[in-house]
């Protein structure tokens, strides 16, 4: 006799999700929930550790974006030491973050998402992945993989390893860029620039035929939050926080991360391990905001490099306003950001400071509490530490980009479900689109190795009386 055993939640793993879709009495979709069913406990087990170790520990949160945690943590550490890091360290950290943005966005676009656009939403899941892409367009796949390698290799030149380099430390960085690394970066820049230009042209050409996706994939008004520079330019490492509304109007500006609790609330729902941050002035859940590539392009006034600025104008033109509201535009924004990152790396690599040996400030514990912020590829990342007088961690709060997109991801799933589900059946192809809708946000839970082509998904269709009328699994 066959029997199905459902294990839920599946814990201590990265990249598992569950989706519940609720039907009303008429059998139409009423609401949908995107559950994150994993719990890791980083904030708890960091307690008692020396502050200086935090960058190395928190980098282990993710194998795709360890640099983001490394930088946010090192910046929090700078504030605990109460030092201003040497200019060279600032530029080197920026270079690593730009490399990180390049490699992570390239992964999201080429490896994970482009099979959907290039091979078709309804194509065979067995080949709708990077291997299918290689079979269909080997040259494009190769370019994408090499673009990611470009970013990863810069991280290795700086931090001695591609993944989990413990290179950024409170007070600066451990070592500068070598001349050998500098030459390598210079040599590979033109190829990377060429790849991103090809990808942008390809995507823009496809965009004209993807109107349904642009309309149905999380197209709704919300706030956007991200870092901007002193003059409102695109930022990824420092600067201040800005919120804009769905029209691109500035709602709040000049916000400092130190006071994040004044403007960001964190709601908790019993059905997900992922918290629900919201903009406090509008309350929960109306204070829904999005972060990440889309938000960064929506909040900034300009990017600051010629080619990327030109693309930003076209991006806004295609979005029909200063702010793009379709979550599908995350893909587009990612490509524009890769171009911006490459242009900025072009500038930085020629800066004499990047090979300077004055890269680390030294100090004791001078502040007992600090908040650090930086832009991870997926969005704004906060690290908040409290330490005792010896520098041992007493309390940690991490606000992760994927968490801040939680409300928006739920809304996106609901929108896609309403568009494609009518009645008790889950149509074939629905799963693909829900995945793609979630994947537009490039959430960290897709970072697991399972994400080659598919995420493990469990979708439940729940009737008005609470009974599960249908469910679909994909492992």
């Amino acid at each position: 006799m066959s029997k199905t055993v459902v294990i839920d939640p599946v814990t201590r793993i990265e990249g598992h999700a569950k989706i519940s879709i609720f039907l009303d009495d008429a059998g139409e979709v009423d609401d949908a929930r995107f559950h994150v069913v994993e719990f890791r406990g980083f904030e708890k087990f960091c307690e008692g550790r020396p502050m200086s170790e935090m960058a190395g520990i928190t980098a282990r949160i993710c194998g795709i974006c360890p640099v983001s945690h490394l930088l946010a943590s090192a910046k929090t550490g700078d504030k605990i030491l109460a030092v201003k890091i040497p200019p060279a360290a600032d530029k080197l950290r920026r270079m690593m973050n730009l490399a990180q943005i390049t490699q992570s966005h390239a992964l999201s676009f080429f490896h994970l998402s482009s099979p959907d656009f290039l091979l078709g939403w309804d194509s065979d899941p067995a080949t709708r992945n990077v291997f299918g892409l290689i079979a269909a367009d080997a040259e494009l796949a190769r370019k994408g993989i090499r673009l990611r390698q470009f970013g990863q290799q810069i991280i290795e030149w700086l931090g001695a390893r591609k993944i989990h380099a413990a290179w950024a430390v409170p007070g600066g960085v451990r070592s500068p860029l070598s001349e050998e690394g500098r030459t390598w970066i210079r040599d590979r820049l033109p190829e990377s620039r060429n790849t991103i230009e090809i990808a942008l042209n390809l995507f823009k050409a496809m965009l004209d035929n993807l109107t349904t996706e642009v309309q149905a994939f999380g197209n709704f008004p919300s706030l956007y939050m991200g870092l901007v520079g002193k003059n409102g330019e695109w930022e990824h490492y420092d600067g201040h926080l800005r919120f804009v509304d769905s029209q691109g109007n500035v709602v709040a500006d000049g916000l400092k991360e130190d006071n994040y609790k004044d403007f960001i609330g964190e709601a908790v729902e019993t059905w997900s391990y992922l918290k629900f941050p919201y903009y406090k002035d509008l309350g929960y859940p109306d204070g829904i905001y999005r972060v990440g590539p889309l938000a960064r392009l929506n909040v900034c006034d300009y990017i600051g490099t010629p080619a990327a600025d030109k693309e930003l104008l076209e991006f806004r033109d295609r979005a029909g306003g200063k702010a793009a509201n379709s979550s599908f535009f995350y893909h587009y924004a990612r490509l524009v950001e890769i171009l911006a990152a490459i242009e900025k790396i072009e500038q930085l690599v020629e800066d004499p400071d990047v090979v300077s040996s004055r890269v680390r400030a030294d100090a004791g514990v001078n502040n007992l509490e600090a908040v650090g912020v930086s832009e991870a590829p997926r969005g704004t990342l906060f690290h908040h530490y409290q330490v005792d007088e010896n520098g041992l961690i007493q309390k940690v709060n991490l606000i992760i980009a994927t968490g801040q997109n939680n409300l928006a991801m739920n809304k996106t799933v609901a929108q896609i479900a309403k568009h494609y589900i009518h009645g008790n059946e889950i149509p074939e192809g629905m799963l693909n689109r829900v995945e793609a809708g979630i994947r537009a946000f490039d959430p960290c839970l897709s970072c697991s190795t399972h994400a080659v082509g598919q995420m493990p998904l469990h979708i439940e269709l729940i009737a008005a009386d609470g009974t599960v009328v249908n469910e679909v699994y994909r492992q």
Binding site: G48, R49, P50, S52, E53, A55, G56, I57, R60, H164, A166, V169, P170, G171, R174, D362, G364, N390, G391, L392
Partner: protein, 238 residues
């Protein structure tokens, strides 16, 4: 002084009376793994990694505290010894909280090196996950008891070389830990001269320079050798 002759791994060796098996093996170019042993300070046979088999004796004896005697036939690398050594390392890992990935001594750790040498890829024993604390009250150094294997090198180096005797072993059984100033926060112990010998002596990341981040704790053990042997060898500069 009389000389003793013995065989280690089949090799004939002659060495002065009173020498240990570890010294004899070293002189013969035979490596026996050690952890609590440190050249220049007293051996205590705490870690048991240097256990050897001696013909006619039905138990294993630690080479670091066993004196040579005439006609001994010693084996240092039998399958049984290899298995025991691997087990000892596995137990050390299971006993404390050793997380190499985020440890200050990653890549510069004798425990890690031994695990690699013994071919340990996991521990057969359930991890204890003990709750242990970190003392960073000292201005320059810190001790993380999670990473301590109780080799007591710090205790001996502080007592025998520096002469300060800041360190001791306190408490019993599973609760045993190295303590400073009869269990006072390290930073408050007047006897500590902040010489850093314990930092150089520690085989793992337990005692570290404050502010060190992942993998940054490299140690200069030759400094300790120099302090111990410089006078005898008439090395006035290093």
């Amino acid at each position: 002084m009389s000389v003793k002759t013995l065989k280690i791994d089949g090799k004939e060796i002659a060495i002065e009376e009173g020498a240990t098996l570890l010294q004899a093996a070293k002189e013969a170019g035979i490596r026996i793994p050690t952890l609590c042993h440190l050249d220049g300070i007293t051996d205590i046979g705490a870690c048991r990694l240097c256990l050897v088999e001696i013909a006619g004796i039905n138990r294993l004896l630690p080479a670091c505290v066993t004196e040579v005697s005439e006609g001994m036939d010693v084996q240092t690398n039998t399958p049984k010894l290899k298995e025991y050594r691997k087990m000892i390392i596995e137990m050390l890992f299971a006993e404390g909280n050793h997380v190499c990935a985020v440890c200050v001594a990653n890549g510069n750790c004798e425990l890690q090196d031994l695990a690699i040498e013994m071919g340990m890829d996991h521990s057969r024993f359930p991890y204890r996950f003990p709750e242990r604390d970190v003392d960073v009250s000292h201005d320059e150094f810190g001790i993380d008891h999670n990473r301590c294997v109780l080799c007591t090198r710090c205790v001996r180096v502080c007592d025998e070389i520096e002469g300060a005797h800041v360190w001791d072993v306190g408490f019993r059984g599973a609760a045993a830990k190295v303590i400073t100033g009869l269990n006072q926060p390290w930073g408050t112990v007047d006897a500590c001269t902040s010489c850093g010998k314990c930092v150089e002596a520690c085989p793992t990341g337990a005692i570290f320079r404050k502010g060190a981040t992942v993998g940054e704790m490299d140690r200069d053990r030759s400094k300790l050798d120099f302090i111990v042997t410089a006078r005898e060898l008439k090395q006035w500069t290093r």
